[in-house]
């Protein structure tokens, strides 16, 4: 186990964490401000991945593909919010879960109709297919580096938006105490629509960026949704800062679980047991983290409310 491998895996974990952050940020604001549990957020992620993959295959322009994904998904989110999500606020969480689950079903089949049931090919742009030596003797895939940079840039941008702009102030006010914000004259409904759209854009970006790294297939939204919700819960509902810290934690724990647990167990146990057990531990690691955090801080690390 070399230091190079360690750093590489840490960077991978960071990259995964940043993508989770993009998803969780949207989720946490929507849930924090409007108290709407939106399971279909994963479907927006899926939409972003599919659109970016097809546009990139057709036009060979990665930037164009990402922009196309953003535009398409934001438009879809606009319609979704106006027709359905808006009517879900005020309802109990179970109703929200069910309605957004219905949206997931519809989205899955629409994607299947448009792109077919088989996973589609999403390639990284040719210019980024090599490796960059970020430290002497440490080559790292250029594409993953771009994801890291993009993720950090977006995180930074989001931080500035939420903490240093007037809109961001209204968003934080709405997240911390919606009723009071409304009494103070904030048009919380408008803020919510904006937050929903920004969240959708972030999810689409995450999908477009992650497409080349994972399989672009129907159901990818449901897969990434659970880790995103775990980040949401660990970070604290309504808090961007919490989502960021939690996403980093989850990304690192997940990678440590997958990469290093087998290495740690190998000298101790017989081989078949090692692979079964490490698969188990890797899968459970993030949930164990969530349980541990909730045991000490039942409302998450940095809850926006209360």
């Amino acid at each position: 186990m070399t230091p190079i491998l360690f750093i590489e895996q840490m960077l991978n974990g960071l990259g995964y964490g940043l993508m989770l952050f993009l998803l969780a940020a949207g989720l946490t604001l929507v849930f924090g401000i409007m108290d709407v549990m939106n399971l279909a957020h994963g479907s927006l992620f899926m939409g972003g991945a599919y659109v970016a993959a097809s546009v990139h295959t057709r036009t060979d322009s990665f930037v164009g593909a990402v922009l196309a994904a953003l535009v398409v998904v934001v438009l879809v989110a606009l319609v979704l919010e106006a027709l359905l999500v808006r009517r879900l606020y005020g309802r109990d969480h179970l109703a929200q879960v069910l309605a957004t689950f219905g949206i997931i079903l519809v989205a899955d089949d629409l994607v299947k109709m448009a792109w077919g049931p088989a996973p589609i090919m999403a390639s990284a742009p040719a210019a980024l297919s090599g490796a960059v030596e970020i430290l002497p003797g440490l080559p790292y895939p250029a594409y993953r580096l771009v994801i890291l940079v993009a993720g950090l840039a977006v995180a930074g941008g989001l931080y500035l938006l939420v903490n240093h702009t007037r809109v961001g102030m209204l968003v934080r006010a709405g997240a911390s105490n919606r009723a009071m914000a409304e009494f103070m004259g904030v048009r919380v409904g408008r803020i919510f629509s904006l937050v929903f759209l920004v969240g959708a854009a972030l999810a689409a970006l995450a999908g477009a960026l992650m497409g080349p790294l994972t399989a672009v297939q129907v159901g990818m939204g449901e897969e990434i949704l659970i880790p995103s919700l775990v980040v949401l819960v660990i970070g604290g509902i309504g808090s961007i800062r919490g989502a960021f810290v939690a996403a980093m934690l989850v990304g690192l724990v997940d990678t440590i679980g997958r990469a290093f647990v087998p290495l740690a167990l190998r000298p101790l146990l017989p081989p078949t047991l090692v692979s079964d057990l490490s698969a188990l531990i890797a899968g459970l690691a993030t949930y164990a983290l969530m349980a541990a955090v909730l045991a000490f801080k039942p409302t998450g690390l940095f809850p926006a409310r209360g």
Binding site: A95, V97, L98, G102, V106, I226, I237, G283, Y287, P298
Partner: protein
Amino acid sequence: MKLERWLPWCAFAALAVFPLLAPALGLDFYVNFVRRALIFALAAASLNFILGFGGMAALGHMGFVGVGAYTLVALADAGHASAWLLWPAGAVAGGLVAAAIGSVALRTRGVYFIMITLAFAQMLYFAAVSLRAYGGDDGYNLMARPTFGLGLDSTHEPTFYWVVLALFGGVMALLNRATVSRFGHALMGIRDNEVRMQAMGYPVFRLRLADFALAGAAAGLAGALLVSHNSFVSPSVMHWTQSATLVVMVVIGGVGRRWGGPVGAAVWIGLEEIARQHTEYWHLPLGVLLVAIVFLAPRGIAGVLERRRRAAPAALAADGRPVEATP
């Protein structure tokens, strides 16, 4: 109302004679279909016991079904074959795991409870995937169906059907008894006003845990039956989308209604089958239906029936004024 009295018995009788009539109607295939629906009806009823009567929105119930299934798999793999051992073992395993999970999850409320039950279900899913001895992600093929002894042949489809029906009836009777018992009423009290029940001295946590464990046991039994029915199980049965579908079934039937689980399961599985026959994109109409239900009929079929009943007065009182229909 009288309808609610005899309708379940009629339905039960119809279900009982169905395998006898099916060959004449050319519906042999559907005997197995109805059997699968019965198993899911059992799972849905167990969820309703937590969701409807206990007021706990648990989004990981299929995890317990999976526990029951994999317990049977583990025992069958070790050489045991008797249903008398395998099925109760599934139920017990489901109950124990539910008690363990509940002891942690029930300390949370609201959305955190939903999240934690979801997370635990995913943990069970990953645990099953990592069990390569039992097929891992590919699933496990049961070599032989559990035997009944007593001269009954479990591989004879109608016989297996009747045993499942009898078990379903038995467990439903048990759950319905529990609902109207003091335990059930305490649960409903906790559902409606937890603080008050706590102030009155009821052991809220323990009652909820008992509720959760009982439902987990019934779900475990359903899981054991499911793997016996399919002769196959895979971790995907515990995926959170399956649990969400189970919640959908309960909501369609009517949350907190006595037969909400079975009715909802029957409707959902029936509609799924119809949709499947017409198109490969059958998720779409079901998804639309789900959204429609949330907005138009949030209390499910039972709610729709109730609204109809309230619209027409039941009878006229002695002085000619209409009597209010009792809900």
